[in-house]
Symmetry: C2
Subunit: 403 residues, 2 copies
């Protein structure tokens, strides 16, 4: 039945068209669907009936004062997706439905030195708790997105060596979680997911090309090109932390000198304040102090901003994204860091590239990654699962022809 190029595939594509249109608009009348999708009213009528019978869509008997327009919207319980994000110190889980609504979200602290098995146990428990709390049917879970803080080979699903969660290297997080939850799990690293999260729910709404820069203990970037995460052929695109700013700068953990990271990441920057602010200063605390007016912290934050700006200027010259979103703890510093970034970009990027760039703080804070994981689950099931997942087994799953 996987008819590659015909009829049924066309029908399938049209189903997806309608669902997409409804999702983007929230709710539409059939006539509106016909206009936006370009399909004829008759076809829309058939498709809506099919979707309604399948449970994917709900038809409410007219809300606004029209003639007799029945508004069509995605039914909230047609299927749910789950996002799981392992951070350096936190575990976050979010539950959402196919209509791109977040139903529940929760985080709890995670011990850095915990074993991966413990971590997955905790994740499984938290997921179960949220499922119960939201009262959705467990069988409705259509997919899970998983975020891990470190380099991961998306193809094989193997976590590379990561200094953030020691002892997790070489594990295959997606398989682990799939084993426990029994549904497809898709992994990606935190920077890519943060980018996706901000793109769908945060400061990136409305653009198709976006760079999300996350400054924490390291510096990473998630790139969205043409609405999709760009990982590059080797899967390691976005390593902005190790572009060289100064060939004779400080030695970086990667073995080079003057990497962006050596001027901006927590591990290199916080020591600068050790003599004045002690040894257990965190990025978060530094940002708070800076906002409260501490001159030393302000200076450091501004310096970090300037260097990030240099890196972003390079990124800008090469990729020319329309928007850069700053995430991580540092984003909390607001204009204290954005100002210097913009200034640096204006200075180092070629004018035509820098001019139309907007640099914004992330709108989601620490939630960006979980929400991105949610978005990953939604996008990975490619709107197809979204359709037949609930279609009462009417027709077997077929790969969509056109993507």
């Amino acid at each position: 039945m996987e008819t590659p190029g015909s009829q049924s595939s066309l029908h399938r594509a049209n189903l997806e068209r309608v669902v997409r249109a409804v999702r983007l608009a929230g709710s539409l009348t059939q006539a509106e669907i016909a206009r936006t999708t370009g399909l004829s009213a008759a076809t829309v009528s058939n498709i809506v009936r099919e979707l309604k019978d399948g449970g994917t869509v709900e038809v409410t008997p007219t809300s606004a004062g029209g003639r007799r327009a029945r508004s069509v919207s995605l039914s909230g319980d047609a299927g749910i997706v789950i996002g799981v994000d392992f951070g350096h110190t936190h575990l976050r889980v979010a539950v959402g439905n196919l209509a791109h609504q977040v139903l529940a979200e929760e985080s709890e602290p995670l011990d850095v030195d915990a074993s991966s098995a413990q971590g997955f146990d905790r994740a499984e428990q938290l997921v179960s708790r949220l499922i119960v709390a939201t009262g959705v049917d467990r069988s409705k879970i259509a997919g899970v997105g998983l975020g891990v803080p470190g380099p991961i080979d998306v193809e094989s699903g193997t976590l590379g060596s990561t200094s953030i969660l020691p002892g997790w290297s070489g594990t295959r997080p997606a398989e682990e979680l799939r084993g426990r939850l029994g549904v497809p799990v898709h992994v990606d690293n935190d920077a890519n997911l943060g980018a996706l999260g901000e793109l769908v729910w945060g400061s990136g709404r409305g653009v198709r090309d976006l760079a999300y820069i996350k400054v924490a203990s390291g510096v990473g970037a998630g790139l969205v090109i043409n609405g999709k995460i760009y990982r590059g052929p080797g899967g390691t695109a976005g390593e902005i932390g190790h572009i060289t700013l100064d060939e004779s700068g400080p030695v970086c953990r990667c073995g080079n000198r003057g990497c962006l990271e050596t001027f901006t990441a927590a591990r290199y920057v916080l020591p600068l304040l050790r003599s004045s602010h002690g040894t257990d200063l965190t990025m978060e605390a530094m940002v708070r102090l800076a906002r409260d007016g501490d001159p030393g912290c302000r200076r450091v934050v501004a310096d970090v901003g300037r260097h990030i700006g240099s890196g972003v200027a390079n990124l800008c010259n090469l990729l020319n994204p329309s928007r850069v979103v700053l995430g991580g703890d540092l984003a909390e510093a607001g204009e204290l860091v954005l100002g210097p970034i913009r200034e640096s970009v204006g200075r180092y990027a070629i004018p035509s590239a820098g001019r139309q760039l907007s640099v914004l703080p992330g709108a989601l804070g620490g939630r960006a990654e979980v929400l991105g994981a949610l978005a990953l689950a939604l996008s990975e099931m490619g709107d197809s699962t979204l359709l037949d997942g609930s279609a009462a087994g009417a027709r077997p799953t077929a790969t969509p022809v056109f993507t």
Copy 2:
């Protein structure tokens, strides 16, 4: 008739499938087409007949010793495309057919100070000459690709200020040429077209992500992501020439210091050899001398390579392309420049990104841009024009639904 989501559009998509399959393979039997496209034999039979009647395809009554397999191939004269490339000193024109074959190619010197009108006159004459020489029918021209050396806004088609062809700023080359030739003209800058050319005919065959670096009087990069030219939302992606390598380096014409260009572009590099080699040394001559063993030139070429390598390392960390192709005059230096580039990349790029990168010299030399223009014309008419351009007006042009 622009039926957005149905039936006829499906048919159209299937037509394109078949054409694409045939083009990629050179020639196929119907049974093979059915297997590679996934369409049924009956459908293929109908489609082949339609294409044959339209003149897009030729059916030769069995070549290899099979049962009764008739091999299907694109008919060479179904339609032709033209590539035009304005360089700093040259004008090049190429004529190709829809089967991706180059039928004729010619270049002639162009006076830098010539007016744009003169330039277009020359281009028109050269095109006409080649059309006559190849004996193809003028009415078969399906589209033209045009390369210009300088920043161009692909949307509006307006040439930005370019120091290479003074007096051309603000003109709209595509419109000019369309007016003279009477067919659709698509423009892009030389770096992007070089990338496309190498991708389709040169060192980039077989990969989907590619960076083409062109070193001449300036330095530019053309990026191919997922098989398509990536221009970025603002249209200025690939400006590798002005990423900062050394914040306190030489002052660049762009107003910053230490741009890649200041270490690598002809205008900055050649003066280094002025005292030893005179003032009218060209990039080309320097490369030739280096190959002949001149130690000064060798050193300069190697230094340029090292700096390009630094830039490529940054590019690599950010984008992680699988291949970098070096174009322009400098590529003629071969290993003299590639060695230092690879060395620099190995040193400055993060290992996982640098490891699987291959750095190759362009295979097309100065032809990369014209051939890229040809490829642009082919791709811009999106295989659709390819179909109905010759379909004897059987059905009006429709925009393909899925892309």
